[in-house]
């Protein structure tokens, strides 16, 4: 998915020092005592967005998916350690020798949260509902594209017949729904079905938790499912509270209103560091930012479009530019250290798939200059390089007004490019406008980013010839490709990986594709950014990062942390009942600053008053 990068991350401006200097010594409130045995264990999560719907056929927000995966099982899951495929509701699975069918073995003796048995029939029902549905296809259509037939041959066996082999068959992320509930919700009713549950009548699910209450824009409550096949979680209840901004979220964590804060920005996270009882995590994330080059905008049929500068079609020029950018400086100064230098389009969080190129482009402006000289771009009279026909290397670089990160990194890139004699006209436009500009091919370079799924298919498809813009009637519409990269060899590799069901063999192809993209340089991947989380380590322990060891603790592909966290018992907590110290330390610099402003204002006032009096006097005299 295209990232509308969180403003939060955007504000991840460099903040490596100065915390001590600013003297924000904030004493934490006293940790609340661990709950007594009789009281339910409630785990409260603060987040910045509400779910858009609790109906798994409707919701698309990240928060909604977090709820769905807690409520409903999937056949397979992504391992917490490294995103490898592990059993979920299915114990085992197998592709037939002729690659036409997949047989899944479902766990036996599993029941839904209301006690009804959960069998292969439910799996068959769910997949058929998606296959035969129209509304149901919106969220899950891509998983069933090549499934011709689904059949439960007995209570624990499901057989999928496929039209062509596909690695997606191991990653069918379709939430299995209880047939006895959903059969009563017909194709019309499903479009407006809320699926929110009430304390008396919780939703019926097969996951670790079920939903018992929702107050739109305020909170969502989930209750542990006693019948969960993975074992009942130690936490009895999860409450998601919705906050309006990162500062409020950070304060709530500090004050102990919540146990976990999701989606902080670098500043707030840094201000929480060192606070007693709070642990902050700069979790590696699956997103990257890039400078994309217009390598020759064209429609999917090859017709050239747009007004991109044709000089950028030269791969030598693009490679030279790759050497001109100090990616580590971007990480340090734009992200505040929360990330890592970029290389290929599959982030290193996916260790099995990510390629760390052997021929890495480092930061070497001298080499960039030498490469440009060799490629025939000599320095012109005003320091801007020109090609053999005298055309200046002057390019438009679009950055996004919606994202301070985008603007800041564009500013850096502009400086780096200009340092090697490539002139940049920086233009800042809204993301909506940029989608339009890019789709029409009316750009030279732009700054944006992607969030990459564990399955690389989607991300890799954004560089295929077929996914360039297309024409419908007279109008040109944007497709997934935003660099207009088109290469026969790449396309054939793409086809090859999309039908390769052996994951090791597929990873090999995916790496080849990354190498190809790296060398051809339609993108200059600037950095992989982190996601900031923080939690009350004086209250809960046992979080499972995905991937191990520095990944996200919540909002993962899976529900690993929810299933394994435990309340911290009093004995371990050591000294409790510390006096509720003053909530905020004194922030002298701010006070001095305000004082200075007051003094200035006072002087101003005094001067004005003087002026007035004098005016009156002189008036009188006259």
């Amino acid at each position: 998915m295209r990232t509308t990068r969180l403003l939060a991350l955007a504000a991840a401006a460099a903040l490596t020092v100065g915390l001590g200097a600013t003297g924000t010594a904030v004493a934490s409130g006293s940790p609340s005592p661990a709950p007594a045995a009789a009281e339910p264990v409630v785990f409260t999560v603060g987040m910045l967005g509400d779910i858009d719907s609790a109906n798994p056929f409707t919701g698309i927000a990240a928060e909604s998916y977090e709820i769905f995966q807690l409520e409903y099982p999937t056949l397979t899951e992504y391992a917490s350690s490294d995103f490898s495929i592990v059993p979920g509701l299915a114990e085992s699975w197998e592709e037939s020798a002729d690659k036409t069918t997949w047989t899944y073995k479902i766990r036996s003796g599993v029941t839904w949260s209301d006690g009804t048995p959960l069998t292969a029939k439910d799996v068959e029902y769910t997949f058929n509902r998606v296959l035969n549905g129209e509304y149901e296809q919106t969220n899950y259509g891509s998983y069933v594209e090549n499934i011709a037939k689904v059949e439960a041959t007995d209570d624990t066996t499901v057989v999928f017949t496929v039209s062509k082999p596909s690695p997606i068959m191991e990653k069918l992320y379709v939430y299995i729904l209880p047939q006895h509930i959903w059969k009563d919700i017909d194709e019309k009713a499903v479009t407006s079905y809320k699926n929110e549950g009430t304390p008396k009548e919780p939703t019926v699910g097969g996951g670790a938790f079920v939903m018992v209450e929702r107050k739109v824009g305020q909170y969502i409550r989930m209750q542990a499912n006693d019948n969960y096949y993975g074992g009942r979680p130690a936490v009895d209840e999860i409450v998601y509270r919705i906050y309006k901004n990162e500062d409020a979220l950070g304060q709530a964590l500090k004050a102990g209103e919540i146990d976990f804060a999701e989606g902080l920005n670098a500043n707030v996270a840094k201000s929480l560091e060192g606070v007693e009882g709070i642990t902050t995590v700069s979790a590696v994330y699956s997103g990257f930012d890039e400078i994309a080059f217009n390598v020759g905008a064209a429609l999917d049929d090859g017709t050239a479009i747009g007004d991109g500068n044709p000089l950028l079609e030269d791969v030598k020029l693009r490679q030279a530019l790759q050497w001109a950018v100090d990616r580590q400086a971007l990480v340090d100064k734009v992200l505040g250290g929360g990330g890592s230098a970029g290389s290929t389009v599959i982030p290193p969080i996916y260790a099995d798939l990510h390629l760390e190129p052997a021929n890495a482009f480092g930061y070497d402006p001298e080499k960039a200059k030498a490469l440009l000289d060799d490629a025939g771009y000599a320095e012109g009279p005003d320091g801007v390089r020109v090609d053999s026909e005298g055309n200046e290397l002057r390019f438009r670089l679009f950055s996004r007004s919606d994202s301070p990160t985008s603007q800041k990194s564009s500013e850096f890139v502009k400086s780096y490019f200009e340092a090697v004699g490539v002139a940049i006209d920086l233009k800042v436009v809204s993301e909506d406008a940029l989608i339009e500009i890019v789709g029409q091919g009316n750009f030279d370079m732009f700054e944006w980013g992607w969030v990459v799924e564990p399955d690389p298919n989607y991300q890799l498809s954004t560089f295929t010839c077929a996914n360039r813009s297309y024409k419908d009637g007279e109008d040109i519409y944007a497709n997934l490709s935003d660099s207009f990269y088109c290469d026969e060899e790449y396309d054939s590799l793409f086809e090859k990986q999309s039908v390769e069901t052996d994951s090791a063999a597929r990873a090999e192809i995916v790496k080849q594709m990354q190498q190809k993209l790296y060398d051809d340089s339609p993108y200059l991947v600037t950095f992989y950014y982190d996601n900031y989380e923080a939690y009350r380590s004086d209250r809960f322990t046992g979080f499972v990062p995905q991937p191990d060891p520095d990944g996200a603790l919540l909002f993962q592909y899976g529900t690993w942390s929810y299933e394994s966290i435990k309340p911290v018992v009093k004995a371990e907590q050591g000294e409790t009942g510390a006096p509720a110290a003053s909530e905020s330390g004194v922030n002298w610099p701010v006070i001095i600053g305000i004082g200075a402003l007051v003094v200035v204002a006072g002087l101003v006032g005094a001067l004005l008053a003087r002026g007035r009096n004098k005016d009156i006097d002189s008036d009188d005299r006259e």
Binding site: A10, A11, A13, A14, L15, T16, V17, G18, L19, A21, T22, G23, T24, D247, N265, A266, N267, V268, K270, S271, D326, A329, K333, V334, G336, S399, S401, P404, Q407, K408, E411, F412, S415, Y416, A419, L426, V428, N587, P589, V590, I592, G593, I594, A596, L597, V600, A601, V604, L607, L608, R610, G611, K614, D615, S618
Partner: protein, 312 residues
């Protein structure tokens, strides 16, 4: 007492005025009134304070490249650490990428002052033209201009400026235009009122009777008489233009490639200077805006007092 109207008795000390050409007389008269104006202005303490403050900023803006090399604005060549508090090396601390805030503020003065002055010129030209014309022509034309002024006057400034800035795109010229074309109606109102007073004077009736054209009346008789008011109002309008520039830049509508006080404030805000307690980052540009606006206001007041245009 208005400068152009009152004839200087023997200000230039010319022994024989009759021998000089009318042009020379006018020039002498102007020089004399300028000298008198300066003498009065010098005695106005608040006016002089404003002038001094402004001189400091103007010098800083003009000689910015002497004090700080242009590279001190380059994010990739920042020498400090992010959010360093004020020190001898960085008297106003550093910003979120380690650039000297003092260098930013000094360079920012250029853009802020240029935008403020240029926008005021646009606003004054439009305001004066429409003001005089709507006061001079009494028929439907004057009425239409007057309604146009009213119309612009009732549209809230900020939304209009934001819409215009969004439509035109983000560049320095556009921000000047936006401020210029949205801030003239006040001036037009003022000038129109003054025009009406001037037009009712007998000598204008005389010139009309002698067959003076509309243009002649407006440029030769009305304009010189409203000029003091325009001058005083300009000084006050500059401060409003600078504030507008700061506001629009802070809202992210300024030219993203230049450094102005408003854009420094925006940067500070979006990079979390507040939660970092980096008061120098927010305070420095803020205090500069306050000082320059104050300086222009003090001067405007002083000029108004001296020329006293409304009495003319």
């Amino acid at each position: 007492m208005s400068a152009p109207v009152v004839p200087p008795a023997d200000a230039a000390g010319a022994p024989d005025p009759a021998r000089r050409s009318p042009r020379a007389i006018t020039r002498a008269r102007r020089r004399a009134s300028a000298a008198r104006f300066w003498a009065q202005f010098r005695r106005n303490r608040s006016g002089m304070t404003g002038l001094a403050v402004l001189a400091v900023f103007a010098l800083a803006a003009v000689f910015a490249p002497v004090f700080f090399d242009r590279s001190s604005l380059d994010v990739t060549q920042a020498t400090g650490l992010p959010f360093e508090p004020p020190s001898w090396e960085f008297p106003l601390g550093t910003d979120d990428v380690g650039r000297s805030v003092l260098a930013l503020v000094v360079w920012g003065a250029r853009i802020s002052l240029v935008v403020g002055l240029a926008a005021t010129v646009i606003s004054m030209v439009i305001g004066t033209t429409i003001g005089i014309a709507s006061g001079h022509y009494r028929g439907w034309f004057g009425g239409a201009l007057d309604r146009l002024t009213d119309w612009f006057l009732v549209i809230p400034f900020l939304p209009l400026a934001i819409v215009l800035a969004t439509v035109l795109g983000r560049s320095l010229l556009n921000i000047i235009i936006v401020i210029g074309v949205t801030s003239w109606p006040g001036t037009a109102r003022l000038i129109r009122a003054q025009t009406l007073t001037v037009e009712s004077r007998p000598y204008l009736e005389r010139s009309r009777a002698l067959g003076a054209s509309n243009t002649h009346q407006m440029t030769r008789h009305v304009l010189p008489n409203v000029m003091p008011l325009v001058l005083a109002n300009t000084t006050l309008a500059v401060s409003i233009s600078i504030l507008s520039e700061t506001t629009l830049s802070f809202l992210g509508l300024g030219d993203p490639t230049t450094v102005s006080w408003g854009s420094i404030l925006e940067q500070a805000f979006s990079s979390g200077a507040i939660s970092q307690g980096a008061w120098w980052y927010l305070g420095a540009p803020g205090v500069c805006v306050v000082l320059v606006v104050l300086a222009f206001n003090l001067m405007g007041r002083a000029i108004e007092d001296i020329l006293d245009p409304r009495e003319a």
